[in-house]
């Protein structure tokens, strides 16, 4: 393992301090917690809290600030944060109008956030949540823990953040989150595995020229292993998988997110995006009304990328995606 770290079990703590120091105009670390919160408070909005295991930077603390999340709770690397820490995040986010939690569909995250919700309710804070499950690589969701929550979660942060900043109520945010979740689809691939600093070796193995389609953001297995192909063919594979799932028509509006997994340069992400342009705008005649490319939901040092498509069902979603924010990572 070759990493710029000190003790592996201090990585999360030191990372949070470094982040809070570097961006002290936007966020602060709540002392003795793993919560990063925005300074802005008491403008009587619904609080938004996200979080999860560390290793997905800039998720989730990178989306804390005006117009997006109120607070983000960091767990150990690839491990859900604990209920007591999530409760601290909820308290930091509470402006008296209730707090909404954005949770990715992983067994541990769902259980810990659920326990935190129960704890918050004991303290008379109204809490509701959405479990994002956008990863279409999981086909057989009856026999698994269900579709995973991956990069589509970033669109959820952005849209709900703008809605909350515009004064939406807890009930309105809950309803909006369900409509967004029903329309967001992601799929990823890996060229090489991630190494969790606390484990010290790669989470899985791939041969030199081998790639894995459908990989999860902690290296959970996908649906097939194949030999590396040109970017165009990788893009084709993603588009045909998504097309089967979404059943789109020409002129349908979509928001697109090409997301790097951590060790894939922007150069390659833009090459891949260029191939998507030809396929989605060219062949499929889709209207890509919003586009983002870069590292948003990473898997430490995994090489690879994911594609997220959000079908735009309401005009306001485009406004929300374009809504100005003051955060580290958007």
């Amino acid at each position: 393992m070759k990493k710029i770290i000190n003790q592996p079990d201090h990585v999360v703590d030191e990372m949070l301090d470094g982040l809070a120091f570097a961006y002290d105009s936007i966020v602060k670390r709540i002392p003795d917690t793993t919560v990063i919160a925005r300074h802005l408070k008491a403008d009587k909005r619904v609080g938004l809290v996200s979080g999860g295991g560390s290793g997905h930077e800039p998720s989730h603390a990178g989306f804390v600030g005006k117009g997006m999340l109120s607070a983000a709770v960091a767990g150990q690397v690839f491990t859900s944060p604990t209920p007591d820490q999530i409760l601290e995040g909820i308290k930091a986010a509470d402006e008296g109008q209730g707090v909404f939690l954005i949770v990715k569909n992983y067994t541990g995250d769902v259980m810990n956030f659920d326990m935190a919700k129960e704890l918050a309710e004991l303290e008379d804070i109204d809490v509701d949540f959405i479990v994002v499950d956008d990863d279409i690589a999981v086909e057989d969701s009856t026999f698994t823990a269900g579709r995973r929550g991956v990069a589509g979660t970033v669109f959820m942060h952005k849209i709900l953040g703008a809605a909350a900043d515009s004064g939406a109520t807890l009930e309105e945010i809950k309803a909006l989150s369900e409509r967004v979740n029903a329309n967001v689809y992601s799929i990823g691939l890996a060229l090489s595995p991630a190494t969790n600093p606390e484990v010290g070796k790669p989470g899985f193995e791939l041969d030199g020229d081998e790639i894995e389609f459908g990989i999860g953001i902690h290296g959970e297995p996908g649906y097939s292993r194949e030999t590396l192909k040109p970017s165009k063919e990788l893009a084709q594979e993603f588009v045909s998988k998504l097309k089967k799932e979404i059943d789109w028509n020409p002129e349908d509006r979509f928001a697109l997110l090409v997301n790097g997994m951590g060790a894939t340069p922007l150069m390659e992400q833009f090459v891949f995006t260029n191939d998507l342009k030809a396929l989605l705008e060219g062949e499929e005649q889709l209207n890509l009304a919003f586009k983002k490319v870069g590292d948003y939901m990473t898997a430490i040092d995994m090489a690879g990328l994911s594609l997220t498509l959000l079908k735009i069902e309401e005009d306001s979603w485009i406004d929300y995606l374009n809504y100005p924010v003051d955060v580290i990572g958007w």
Binding site: D9, N112, F143, T144
Partner: protein, 195 residues
Amino acid sequence: MSTTEKWISWISQFTDQIIEHKADLNQLDSAIGDGDHGSNMDRGVKAVKEKIDQGDYEELTDLFKDIGMSLVSKVGGASGPLYGSAFISMAKASKETDDPSLLLEAGLDGITKRGKADPGEKTMVDVWHPVVDSLKKGTLAQSDIDEALESTKDMKATKGRASYLGDRSIGHIDPGAQSSAYLFSTLLEAGVLDD
């Protein structure tokens, strides 16, 4: 030895087992999960030890509650809420009874309420369930624990992160079942069941 002391001795032996087998648990988890079950449990049992070393426990309820809350607040992932819920349920049950089989049955209830796994889904429940059955019959032996643990090898995971492997999860022992097996082996060794 008083009852509380036996249970404390159990948890202390369990702590030692987890620390000793941290790398083994990570290894099992690497095969079908994300390779950190040992690290997460290690962090949890060390927090438990720190907590109970400071305490002076006359009531089982206080002991189990402290163990459960330490695990919930330190382990994270799925194991934290599951082990934590087990001990918190045991704390509640210990207000009525100090019978190990009833206490551990309550622990199992706590796990299944939180995790919603049934036997046969390749989880810690596949050790807890047969062990609690044997406990209630008064026949629990190390061989029951070994057999239950080994049975997870041929199962296909349908809950938790291992479920994404589908058939590829077959042939590996479940890491949560392994840490639970340590829990019950040390239960026998600590003499909690002896009269």
